[in-house]
Symmetry: D2
Subunit: 306 residues, 4 copies
Amino acid sequence: MSSDKSYKWFVDHLSPHETHGHGIDALVFSGKSDFQEIEILDSKSYGRCLVLDGKMQSSEIDEYIYHEALVHPAMLNHPNPKNIFVVGGGEGATVREILRHPSVEHVLMVDIDQKVVEACKEHLPQWHMGAFDDPRVELKFLDARKYLEETKTKYDVIIIDISEPVEEGPAYLLYTKEFYHLLIDRLSEAGTISLQAGTTAPPYLINFRAVCQTLLNVFPIVSPYQVSMPSFGLPWAFALASKLTDPTSFSPDEIDRHIAERIEGELKFYDGITHLGQFSLPKYLRRELQKKKRIIEDNQPLYLYV
Amino acid sequence: MSSDKSYKWFVDHLSPHETHGHGIDALVFSGKSDFQEIEILDSKSYGRCLVLDGKMQSSEIDEYIYHEALVHPAMLNHPNPKNIFVVGGGEGATVREILRHPSVEHVLMVDIDQKVVEACKEHLPQWHMGAFDDPRVELKFLDARKYLEETKTKYDVIIIDISEPVEEGPAYLLYTKEFYHLLIDRLSEAGTISLQAGTTAPPYLINFRAVCQTLLNVFPIVSPYQVSMPSFGLPWAFALASKLTDPTSFSPDEIDRHIAERIEGELKFYDGITHLGQFSLPKYLRRELQKKKRIIEDNQPLYLYV
Amino acid sequence: MSSDKSYKWFVDHLSPHETHGHGIDALVFSGKSDFQEIEILDSKSYGRCLVLDGKMQSSEIDEYIYHEALVHPAMLNHPNPKNIFVVGGGEGATVREILRHPSVEHVLMVDIDQKVVEACKEHLPQWHMGAFDDPRVELKFLDARKYLEETKTKYDVIIIDISEPVEEGPAYLLYTKEFYHLLIDRLSEAGTISLQAGTTAPPYLINFRAVCQTLLNVFPIVSPYQVSMPSFGLPWAFALASKLTDPTSFSPDEIDRHIAERIEGELKFYDGITHLGQFSLPKYLRRELQKKKRIIEDNQPLYLYV
Amino acid sequence: MSSDKSYKWFVDHLSPHETHGHGIDALVFSGKSDFQEIEILDSKSYGRCLVLDGKMQSSEIDEYIYHEALVHPAMLNHPNPKNIFVVGGGEGATVREILRHPSVEHVLMVDIDQKVVEACKEHLPQWHMGAFDDPRVELKFLDARKYLEETKTKYDVIIIDISEPVEEGPAYLLYTKEFYHLLIDRLSEAGTISLQAGTTAPPYLINFRAVCQTLLNVFPIVSPYQVSMPSFGLPWAFALASKLTDPTSFSPDEIDRHIAERIEGELKFYDGITHLGQFSLPKYLRRELQKKKRIIEDNQPLYLYV
């Protein structure tokens, strides 16, 4: 029997010339929404995975890295976050991490794709862990940008948890200067946002640079950081942008104290030393941000390969 | 014409159930030595690559990350490294980085596979940049372990730059407790070693843990560190082990001063902040090292999948 | 959306150096029996497929070619086949084709793997079309060779519908001289057998030659024939062996008349001209059978790559 | 060592959802002409291969099947072929087979792509075997259609040996009704043409049907035939079209006598029985040609996937 060899594969095309292949055991869910193709599958190395339009979104084995890295640095960058807005976040794991902060009074999650959220609710219980049922959580299936344009509410933290900007995909207008101006307007005084900022692999740095430079065009404080999430096949960047507080001003001990005081349960990825490590980018990445500016605008969007 | 699509591929099997595929332009060299299959190929995303037994060893686009990370932390951990030993290092880039330290008087590189070194000399000039011709460099094609058993010379820094331990491969006896005991005996008083310590991807942490735990069984100071080298397809660990000095005791400013004073030319990857970042491992990796000990011994080797 | 590109694949390894990849929509069934791994999947080009131990067994789009080619030449080679034995035949399509011959009074199908048959019953209704429920059909889950050794019954036609002979697989003892001697003993006077005889692709002719030569060692009349079944990725051979009648003695008109008189419903693949074409092997295949004999025996089996 | 496993691959995309992968040893030649990407590579299973725009054109192991099947039926369909025109034929193997007919006085080969021919001359000596140097052969690098439009010469046999009709590729205007009208005008009284007519795999029959139906729109006699050439990954059709003689009117014995009298050297694929077999198409292919007509015209071309 050939049980030591995979013959069913999910092939993630990182670029036209680079692939990341995952031997799979089962296709748990396949569907198509108005916005994207949705797959939930069980891979042999990374467990259950969410795949949108053929791209890995998160895996059972390392989603905690992604979601802890996306949520907690931003939450701790605000002194007392009560009102939180989540753009996207279909798996429910971003909300799960937000709810670990007892300061939180209300989380509004706006995801354009109801089908994704419903598939995740049913098939990714390890991700959301019931977060959608928490009374503090409100869920709307709308265009988040349009919603923010029409509301006057201020948020303490806005977490942007969306897929990459691809042509005809649902996300590209959530990566532009205009959108970031809208976000800063909707933030409270010490307001902070965080988002994934593309791969930091040397062949594909254009997106990382453009996202960071576009944020810097709008926010007074922008702190990119890097994590290793092997299910993505490439190293990955996030960025935290805020109106007031620089996350790199906190020492590891301060972060550890904040975690002890302000987060329930135990984290697996994030702590003071992790914080220090992730914000200490290698020299070539810091240099990259000094290169010629590429500002992403509504009428000059940046599309990545799918 | 289909120029935007790759149909020639190098497929790196990261595990039986995970692959990393590279669209390729050309096969520059193919050969077989007594020890391994040797390929040098031009990939579309990572440029020229060295592949041994089907596994990526280093790529033109990110080899500086690997070689700067492997060499400079160890070199700066010794106050005045003069006599250097390199185990493996076929590409010549490890020696290239060592030679940037003017303190160095002699580098002995011992690689078991002459064919690899000859192929690299001819086809990877961007890697070695003539390092093999430096009068301070001595090159021997021998079993490095046997050589070290028979010599009485002491070395200030020993850099281990070899492929992963696989069954029937040339390297597995260079990852054992017995070999590390030999190394510590051949080090001078402030002697330091460095080596790659396997992937830090959560599904495959066994090797990282075992290498670090085996080092800790022998050396008083062991400092693992992590870098992102996307051509490998997975995040990767290194480890520095020394008799005297803890590399994490240096501040970023001290590292930057040492670099300015002790390294010629400009580095692309490594500096004080990079140093701080790479040694600040995320929480789950530090936890991993607390788990049940797995000591690698000559008669209990650890083989990785090829 | 990337709907024009497949990222979920079933990869059939035709050899260590040749693959046939199928973009897939769904994994309908995955299981493991005592004998093999069982998959039923929906491919984009060939529809539903049965896969055993990672090898394509039959596809919705071209299974009629396989099953008509396997069954009808043998059935028409006997003047009045009443009692039929099927070795293997898990999908039920072989029995389906046999039942189209009104002469048939009893079909005994012996498949070692009950799990395969149950999965096919549930998920491949287009294959069996209810054949398992026909009162003329008897189904046993046993080792067919052992069963035939112990019975004294004579059969008019024996159809061998099994996977390829691979090490540790369930089939290799059903391809030997000893087994063929057993078959000829269990055949009635004008008895005929048919079986798949491996690929006719030039790089892999060893199996085709050995199967035919082994049959010729036992049967007075052996007629190999070739069909194109693209889901297999390679051209494929069958062989008919009989005690009395040479199938190539029938003209296309005679075959067409036999079909009209003796088979219910309309065939899609097989008719008089098809018969003529498939038994008219190209010169290089006829030559292959003249080469040095390779007789497959119980203690000198032939294993194919999986 | 992992010598039993391929990690360098040529992946032939048969369709967006079907691939044929070849483990490769070496890339012998890579280039780009004004018309297409050109590769010559050494595969592990099929030896040396010519690949144009990522599609397999012919392989060392089975090119004799393709070239004997393309050339000899057409040549023997004419009583005394002296003047031959070849459209395409870059490898030189088509000319090689034509020159085995001593009746031939002149072969004009017109291939649009000089770079392909030069690469084949240098790297595929097993294909052309010096045919380009034969004094009967004239070679022009032109658009064959334009050339034929401007000449008044009549040819006894015209062999069309070109790649498939793909958008922006060089070949699509050589598959239209208008081109076939041009060909019939340039044929002598008993003139015959032959060409490859696409795959006969059930999922992709549109091309086979349209090519045959378009030929039937122009020629009084059209005889499609099928061969198995495993390097193509799919079964393949050819078609012979003539003004006078039906190739299926010859018995195997007549073909064998013609071969003995009119072809020098020994053939490996083609003889009387092969002839009978290849023109005896299975029922489903003959049925396919009865389906709704699809005539290919200059302004209604048929493009296949690349």
